[in-house]
Amino acid sequence: MTSERKNSRGVVERSLASFVAALEHAFHARELAEQRGLLQSVDPRIKIVAILPLIVIAALARRLWVIAVLFLVAIVIAMLSQVPLATLTKRVWLGVFAFTGFISLPALFLVPGQTIYTLPLPGWTVSTQGLRAATYLIMRAETAATFSVLLVLCTPWSSLLKALRVLRLPVVLVVILGMTYRYIFLLLRNAQDMFTSRKSRMVGRLDGPEQRRAATACAGVLMSKTLQLSGDVYMAMRSRGFQGEVYLLDEFRTGWLDWIVLTACMTIAALAFWFGR
């Protein structure tokens, strides 16, 4: 009975909670991106060129201490960029640790190697290699996630997208990404409204198939609205003279701080690559 009640309450509310969490995340990221910190002051193009190698080197390194040093570098950058460690803990570290920890836990027992501990009751053995493999996985995932979150939290999304041109992404793709991001919030709001109106009309509990029908009908309505919306957006663009060509205003300028940050990150990446071989 309890589980039934929990489930019937959960489906609509869980979807609503997902939408609200996404909107909150976007709002919070925008707030952080507007603060005055180290990464916020750096040209977005330089940020991408500086941070991406650190993520790749964290994945390449074959020594745990090198990954740990990269993780510390990420923490220092976060502190210099006014990103609260509590935010990183809540949004990144705990989530990644719970997910990757859960995934890597069996590795302690499944990876063969030198035994360091035997669990008393089931008699399972923990191997050094298993422990190291799990640590590798968790450390890599935490470090890479921290760097990528810092990149996103400290850069307005529109600037980040324009800066992706530095990776030779086609202009049309950058424009599509920008529009996608904008319409995500419109569709999230639409979905939220649909679920809220559904919830407001519910006086009893829906059974499983009925809930599935409600969820898939919402998805179907959203699909219809999406295609209708794409037609409307197209007509609006055409009426403003759009003929298939897209352009971007590139207003980025680099300063001395950008080059210092780039040099520092490149040096750290090169050293990490050398010592982590």
Binding site: E4, V11, R14, S15, S18, F19, H25, A26, A29, L52, I55, V56, A59, L60, R62, V96, T100, S104, P106, A107, V111, G113, T128, Q129, R132, A133, Y136, L137, M139, R140, A141, T143, A144, A145, S148, V149, V152, L160, V175, L177, G178, M179, T180, R182, L187, A191, G208, A215, T216, A217, A219, G220, L222, M223, S224, T226, L227, S230, V233, F242
Partner: protein, 362 residues
């Protein structure tokens, strides 16, 4: 199934990016040719839809809930090429903005879910829906099964990518550097969750969306070009008849006739040795000469000996046992092989519905 950073080696990531990029390019070219100026708003808004649909909680039998990717619904309504691009863009935004899936592993995630998922969904949907009416319940079933198959094949690819990591990347002490589970653990672990929960979520969303659209907006299912007002450009293959393909057939026939030229080549193809070659002194000399004067092992490698017994070719050495003249055997093998390849492509085209009379209906 969103593989995070650190689970795959950079070389695996690079290979999967390298595989995905030409497919993205091809998909982009095809969708642009079909949609022309509608490309930008359509892809942007549908990608946003794919992103939002990934956040839907779908109730599943047994009292639990799951998330769908939306690849089945997107493929059925938009076709596989637009679906590949839309799901990829949604995955990119998920990875970069929400940290769901890694940046280094984005190519792998897009390859598994967007590219493989869309292709599988299209093939399954076409194979089951066939030429039934747009409002037929079979179409909703086909869409559901297409989504289910797509997500499971995508999961299988992801499991294989994760499962090969400990085989290929270990440090000196034997510690796996990336995902630590071998194929025999990774595949069952991944498939168990997808054959049950995640697959069902995709099944319900794909089937449910199509069933809803059948009732509420069947035009979206009836005409792929309902999203494109410009006249669609028929692909070159559509207009191919004997006249346009005649030069290709003549060249193919000439190449078949020239296949016995291979008999003139001396020696053996490097690396294509059989188990008997290791015991034949003459062959051993040829192998040594072809390998920079490095002698082959005295006995055939155990793995080669074990695996070579798995499959016996019907035409060994391009010479069927009943043919006495090697040159004729070569020509026959060429005809047989080309016929087999053409047959496979015709079968795929038939399953994908590439017939002139069915081109306007999905």
């Amino acid at each position: 199934m969103h593989i995070p950073d650190g689970y795959l080696s950079p070389s695996t990531c690079a290979v999967l990016y390298g595989t995905a990029i030409p497919i993205w390019y091809m998909a982009f070219a095809r969708v642009k040719r079909l949609l022309n100026t509608r490309l930008v708003p359509l892809l942007a808004v549908v990608s946003a839809f794919c992103f939002v649909i990934m956040m839907f909680n779908v109730p599943l039998p047994g009292g639990t809930t799951g998330h769908a990717v939306g690849v089945g619904a997107a493929t059925v309504v938009l076709g596989p090429w637009a679906s590949m691009l839309s799901v990829s863009i949604a995955l990119l935004i998920q990875a970069v903005f929400f940290g769901d899936g890694g940046i280094t592993t984005l190519g792998a995630n897009c390859f598994n879910m967007a590219i493989v998922g869309s292709i599988v969904a299209q093939v399954v949907y076409r194979a089951i829906a066939r030429r039934t009416a747009v409002t037929s319940p079979r179409r909703a079933l086909a869409a559901g099964l297409a989504g289910y198959a797509a997500i499971n094949v995508a999961a299988l690819f992801a499991a294989c990518e994760l499962g090969i990591q400990p085989l290929l990347f270990k440090d000196a002490s034997g510690t796996p550097l990336y995902a630590p589970y071998a194929l025999h653990i990774a595949i069952p672990a991944m498939m168990l969750g997808h054959l049950t929960f995640a697959g069902l979520a995709e099944l319900f969303v794909s089937g449910g969306v199509v069933a809803y659209l059948q009732r509420a907006n069947p035009v979206l299912l009836g005409q792929k070009s309902s999203v494109a007002t410009e006249p669609t450009v028929r692909p070159p293959a559509a207009s191919s008849g004997w006249r346009t393909t005649r030069p290709l057939w003549i060249r193919l026939a000439l190449l078949m006739l020239l296949t016995p030229l291979g008999i003139l080549a001396a020696g053996t193809a490097w690396g294509e040795w059989g188990t008997r070659d290791f015991a034949d002194p003459q062959m051993r000399q040829q192998i040594t000469a072809a390998s920079g004067d490095i002698a082959p092992p005295a006995r055939e490698p155990q793995g080669l000996a074990r695996l070579s017994a798995l499959w016996s070719a019907p035409f060994p050495q391009y010479a069927p046992p009943f043919v006495r003249r090697p040159a004729f055997g070569y020509v026959m093998s060429a005809v047989f092989g080309s016929g087999l390849i053409l047959g496979c492509f015709l079968l795929i085209a038939w399953m994908a519905g590439e017939r002139p009379d069915s081109r306007t209906s999905p």
